[in-house]
């Protein structure tokens, strides 16, 4: 028996274990990438369609039948074909973009400070948790008074909503940094700007983007009610307008657009988190 042979050094080689291997799992990626998402989307459409069917068959609610999938997709097609959908999207995205930009410009340095200095963390804890829990929309009257334009007021509301997740995700990332990384960098001659640029920012970049992902979600939610304010552009305005003109198919189409753009923004953030992540799975 070959497994019993003993070599010159007196070391007996062990028999090689054979692992049972199943046929390559080509089904699994297909399932996860296509079939499961399709099931989810199909389920949502079914619930929507069923809701529309109930409304259409109820004498009291008949007027709202345009909320159903059929009229909604028709309205969406028309809005895309006529190009009417792009203006509100562009206005809304630019507001969210500026709001996020402010939130990042304020939140990232604030988060680094809070994460780095325990004293700063302790001083800011109560006031920041207090401010964080106030709905951004509660600032609406103040924002309208404080800012000269409606646009600026909306951007302010978005920034107020988005700044907290970015601040706290950044702070959390900084707190997790291995203290030895600072020690080694100092030993290698790093000054403060180099420490920030070469050590702190790369170390927390994925935490920053995780914070931005949360912030995008909050900002996109705050956007619509904020656009009910005096502006005459954007997706929030479009919804309000459709309601006033009783165009429920159009209203539902805009809701659909809001959801799809939100989904895409989140997907972009997930990509960015993956790209800036240095943690490798082993």
């Amino acid at each position: 028996m070959s497994t019993d042979t003993v070599n010159a050094a007196g070391i007996r080689p062990l028999p090689t274990a054979r692992r049972k291997s199943w046929p390559a799992g080509w089904m699994e990626p297909l399932r996860q990438g296509l079939i499961y998402p399709a099931l989810g989307i199909g389920g949502l459409l079914a619930v929507w369609w069923y809701g529309g069917w109930i409304i259409a068959n109820n004498d009291d609610l008949y007027a709202f039948a345009d909320f159903a999938p059929g009229p909604t997709f028709a309205a969406l097609y028309q809005m895309v074909a006529s190009g009417a959908v792009w203006d509100p999207i562009a206005s809304s995205l630019s507001r969210v973009g500026f709001g996020l930009l402010w939130a990042i410009l304020i939140g990232v340095p604030l988060g680094i400070g809070i994460g780095y200095w325990a004293v700063a963390r302790q001083i800011t804890h109560v006031p920041f948790q207090f401010l964080r829990m106030i709905s951004p929309l509660a600032w609406m009257p103040i924002a309208v008074l404080a800012f000269a334009t409606w646009d600026a007021a909306i951007i302010f509301l978005i920034a107020v909503a988005a700044v907290w997740p970015i601040t706290y995700a950044t702070a959390h990332g900084v707190q997790k940094i291995d203290p030895l990384w600072f020690k080694v960098a100092r030993n290698l001659g790093a000054d403060s700007p180099q420490m920030l640029r070469r050590i702190v920012l790369p170390a927390v970049s994925q935490d920053i983007f995780a914070g931005i992902r949360l912030a995008v979600g909050v900002a996109w939610i705050v956007l619509v009610p904020a656009e009910y304010l005096g502006v005459t552009s954007g997706l929030g305005y479009a919804i309000n307008d459709a309601r006033d003109t009783l165009e429920y198919d159009k209203l539902a189409a805009i809701v659909l657009v809001i959801g799809m753009i939100g989904y895409l923004l989140d997907a972009v953030c997930v990509k960015l988190i993956k790209r800036t992540s240095w943690r490798q799975a082993d």
């Binding site: 291995d178 203290p179 030895l180 990384w181 600072f182 020690k183 080694v184 960098a185 100092r186 030993n187 290698l188 001659g189 790093a190 000054d191 180099q194 070469r198 050590i199 790369p202 170390a203 240095w278 943690r279 490798q280 082993d282």
Partner: protein, 280 residues
């Protein structure tokens, strides 16, 4: 008398390279909130090019002393001088390697190694210095690999190359091999000694491992605890590379072991308390 910024300029191109002569002048150190000093009236001189091992029980302040040599910690009283100048802050000229390799995981092997030169604004030296150094530590092929893919021994080799890239006068080792497996540890001990002797560097290392001290050092300083003092020293007059099973080697090891009495301390891995310093 502070140390001038020109010390960092001295690693410029073509600067004659000078190993450090260290004098430790009556260092006493108190950590805040402790009644007894961690170190008391510690005094020693270390010749240029010498390899010195600091050994002693936990809490004898050997790691604290090493942090002072690196300028990462200031003594309460007394001072450390390197080539006559008082050490008041860390510098790439006296470089410390820690128990953990502490590499930056978002960088490749080459980027980690080049970091000291980058911080010094000496980008032009990176190409010329880093690859030969990686060759020396046997990682030339892995230069573009992310450091997370490396084994513990390979990571410590990157840390070594990173410490050497700024051409230090003095290399400080704080138990850098204690987390490695026995084979890798022995190989790295010999490799580091070879490089340090080849370049004529001064080296000071802290270790729990008596065999490591005898294998690497010219001189072993034995510290006692409460308060921390250098209580004894032993010179190791063996040629490099050292044969660990040679009778003279074994005799020295036994002698050192005996010095510690019955309670020879086993290496305490991962339970080491780092000196408290601010990472500012």
């Amino acid at each position: 008398m502070g140390i001038e910024r020109d010390s960092s300029k001295a690693i410029g191109e073509g600067t004659p390279f000078m190993p450090a002569f260290i004098s430790i002048d009556y260092i006493t150190h108190h950590y805040k909130g402790q009644s007894k000093p961690t170190l008391e009236a510690v005094e020693a001189t270390i010749e240029a090019g010498q390899t010195v091992a600091l050994i002693g029980r936990s809490g004898c302040g050997k790691s604290t002393l090493l942090h002072m040599l690196a300028g990462l910690l200031q003594p309460s009283e007394g001072c450390v001088r390197i080539n006559g100048r008082q050490i008041t802050r860390p510098s790439p000229k006296w470089n410390m390697m820690f128990q953990k390799p502490s590499l930056y995981p978002w960088m490749s092997v080459r980027e980690n190694t080049a970091l000291g030169l980058l911080f010094q604004g000496q980008k032009q030296l990176i190409a010329e210095r880093v690859d030969p150094l990686l060759e020396t530590v046997g990682l030339r092929e892995l230069a573009d690999t992310n450091v997370q893919r490396l084994s513990g021994g390979q990571q410590q080799r990157v840390a070594l190359a990173r410490s050497l890239a700024t051409q230090p006068e003095l290399l400080l080792l704080d138990e850098p091999f204690s987390a490695l497996d026995a084979f890798t540890r022995t190989a790295l001990q010999d490799q580091v000694t070879g490089i340090v002797k080849d370049k004529g560097l001064t080296m000071v290392m802290v270790t729990h491992d008596i065999e490591e001290a005898v294998a690497m050092a010219d001189r072993v300083l034995i510290m006692s605890a409460n308060p921390g003092r250098i209580e004894n020293e032993m010179s190791v007059d063996l040629t490099y590379p050292r044969n660990r099973s040679a009778p003279e080697f074994v005799a020295l090891r036994e002698q050192l072991m005996k010095h510690f009495g019955e309670t020879v301390e086993l290496p305490q891995r991962n339970s080491k308390t780092e000196p408290r310093i601010k990472a500012a």
